[in-house]
């Protein structure tokens, strides 16, 4: 059986600056992999290459064995590849419920309909509310996204990704910018994700990484430094030198 997501020899440069260098990565079905690395290692760029927001200069991306390198971002999303953004990308002027209904509508092709009223399909609303229910967002469903505290907005970001019913989910620092008093809410959600979904998480908090991930990929200067289990990574002196050492003083959360 082919991997849920496979990245083969991926390269990308911004001008003369190589930001992704010959990256190989494989996510089995249900994988729980963390992608770590110092600031500027190219973690978000890698996510953008995988989702199609950026085009690689060479290399391939395979979803369930099918080459999706040439397909659009939207097509990849429709095939079951979802992501969250490091900085919220939400419909801020719409209600939380509308954010979810939009996602479900686009997933099911409902949004091709120009004639039926948007609220007329109860099944869409019910599913949206189910997703919000599971993240305890129902009480906020009629609030505009921009009126929510940032931590709650982060949850909406995840709720949207889940509403896509993805097979592969890329989480780009899901708890970034959230006060630590609230971040456990988000991390609980991440920990409770459907075991069938292959998850790649970018995260700076090592406690989270070691708790959540079954496998870790270390990215340094755009290239894969090493792969391994959490235990192997923790024991790896080189990794400690390039990355974990920096973690001691809890540097910035942006990557």
């Amino acid at each position: 059986m082919s991997a849920a997501l496979e990245v083969q020899g991926l390269n990308r440069a911004f001008g003369a600056l190589p930001v992704t260098r010959d990256v190989n990565l494989s996510l089995e079905r249900g994988a729980r992999r963390a992608l770590i690395g110092p600031n500027g290692a190219g973690k978000t760029t890698l996510v953008n290459l995988i989702t199609g927001a950026l085009k690689p200069s060479s290399g391939r991306v395979l979803l369930d064995g099918a080459d999706i390198t040439a397909t659009s971002q939207a097509e990849r999303a429709r095939r079951g590849l979802a992501r969250t953004f490091q900085i919220n990308q939400l419909f801020r002027g719409l209600t939380v419920l509308e954010n979810l209904c939009m996602t479900i509508g686009e997933r099911d092709g409902e949004c091709n309909n120009l004639w039926r009223a948007a609220g007329a399909k109860r099944s869409v609303i019910d599913e949206a509310l189910d997703h919000l229910d599971s993240l305890r967002l129902v009480d906020d469903s009629l609030k505009l996204v921009r009126e929510l505290p940032y931590g709650r907005q982060r949850l909406v970001e995840i709720a949207i990704a889940l509403a896509q019913k993805p097979r592969v989910l890329l989480l780009d620092e899901p708890a970034a910018g959230v006060p630590s008093s609230e971040s456990h809410l988000i991390l609980d959600v991440v920990a409770a994700l459907d075991p069938d979904i292959a998850v790649l998480i970018i995260e700076h908090d090592m406690d989270v990484v070691f708790r959540f991930a079954k496998a870790i990929t270390v990215l340094v200067q755009g290239a894969v430094f090493t792969h391994g289990t959490p235990a192997e990574i923790m024991a790896n002196a080189d990794v400690r030198a390039v990355y974990l050492g920096e973690e001691g003083h809890k540097g910035g959360r942006r990557g």
Binding site: T51, A53, S72, Q73, A74, E75, R76, A77, R78, A82, R83, F85, Q89, L90, F91, R92, G93, L94, T95, L97, E98, C101, M102, T103, G105, E106, R107, E110, C111, N112, N113, L114, W115, R116, A117, A118, G119, A120, R122, I125, D126, L129, D133, V138, D139, S141, L142, I160, Q164
Partner: protein, 341 residues
């Protein structure tokens, strides 16, 4: 146990309330009747101003088509007159060159032609956004105008196609000197088109347009075929602008290449912004206020009238950023808060 029961009961109630909100969003609200009542009342109150009234209604229709793309999908264009012009010339050329003057079918032909041009240009242009798109849409309108100028043997050039005679409406109602039939004709067309636009705006497709306006990156990420959505709505808006253009030719019984003018594109955008974008009725408020002011100021001072319009716009931009309807909304909120406290 009791605590968790009440909690889940509360949750079910919250769910019902949320669902009810979405289900009710598109429902007809009584204040929506107001613009139509005003339009009908105007017919009886100003029977001698119906020629002007018809022109206002045509601009409402034109602004409504722009609202669909600017207000809902967030497409900024300075070339919307292109489609108005295509529609106007479809009607004009059908009469002048082919001798075909049945008004209703002409509207369909105008919609089809303008829609086709919208589809083709939109397909190419809507890959771009912002200033690039602004320039490209502007250039499109100018190119169409110049094409007309190049073939002035067909288009009549800037002298236009004068003295076009339209067949009676439904084969029965001939056009009177006071523009009464024209006014009702334009109002009828506006009502029909408005019904379509309203359905579209409240459809899942309309929601997706709002999504594109709100956050296009997110739309890509959830799998929305953004380009296709934009081309679709651009085509529809072009077709509606074409209908407005055809009405313009039919009610004025002449058409010149000035319909493609940058002025025309800019004016309709100003009207829409003045009224308020993305709210359907902004087109009504904006077009009516702009046209009435223009009419009033031009009578007051035939050489200096644009000063009045300019002043109006400066005031609108300073004090009514969300348009006249936004202003009314804010005033309503303010009053209801005052009443409460």
């Amino acid at each position: 146990m009791a605590a968790s029961d009440t909690k889940s009961a509360g949750r079910i109630e919250a769910r019902e309330r949320a669902a009810e909100y979405l289900l009710s969003r598109h429902r007809f609200r009584w204040p929506e009747l107001l613009p139509w009542l005003i339009a009908i009342a105007a017919f009886f109150i100003f029977p001698d101003r119906m020629t002007f009234g018809g022109q206002v209604l045509i601009m409402v229709l034109f602004a409504l088509s722009l609202d669909l793309i600017l207000g809902y999908a967030g497409i900024v264009t300075l070339g919307h007159a292109a489609f108005f012009g295509i529609g106007a010339y479809t009607a004009g050329l059908l009469i002048a060159r082919l001798g075909y003057s049945e008004p209703i079918s002409t509207l369909f032909a105008a919609a089809a032609m303008a829609g086709l041009v919208g589809l083709i240009t939109g397909w190419f242009l809507l890959r771009y956004r912002g200033l690039t798109l602004l320039m490209l849409t502007l250039a499109t309108a100018i190119m169409l105008q110049e094409t007309g100028n190049l073939r002035s043997d067909i288009s009549g050039g800037y002298d236009g196609l004068p003295g076009l005679t339209i067949s009676p409406l439904f084969g029965k109602f001939d056009y009177d000197l006071y523009g009464h039939v024209n006014y009702l004709y334009a109002l009828g067309v506006l009502a029909v088109v408005f019904y379509f636009v309203r359905r579209i705006v409240y459809s899942p497709f309309g929601q997706a347009l709002t999504g594109i306006r709100e956050n296009v990156r997110r739309m890509h990420a959830i799998g929305s075929p953004v380009h296709r959505r934009l081309v679709t709505v651009y085509t529809i808006a072009a077709a509606i602008a074409g209908i407005a253009g055809a009405l313009f030719t039919q009610t004025n019984a002449y058409v010149t290449l000035t319909v493609f003018d940058f002025d025309n594109s800019a004016k309709v955008m100003v009207m829409l912004i003045l009224g308020g974008t993305g709210r359907l009725y902004g087109a009504f408020a904006g077009a009516v206020v702009y046209m009435v002011m223009e009419d009033y100021f031009s009578k007051l001072s035939p050489t200096f009238w644009q000063f009045g319009i300019g002043l109006l716009l400066v005031l609108a931009v300073l004090f009514a950023r969300r348009g006249l309807l936004g202003l009314i909304e804010d005033a309503g909120k303010y009053i209801s808060e005052k009443v409460k406290s």
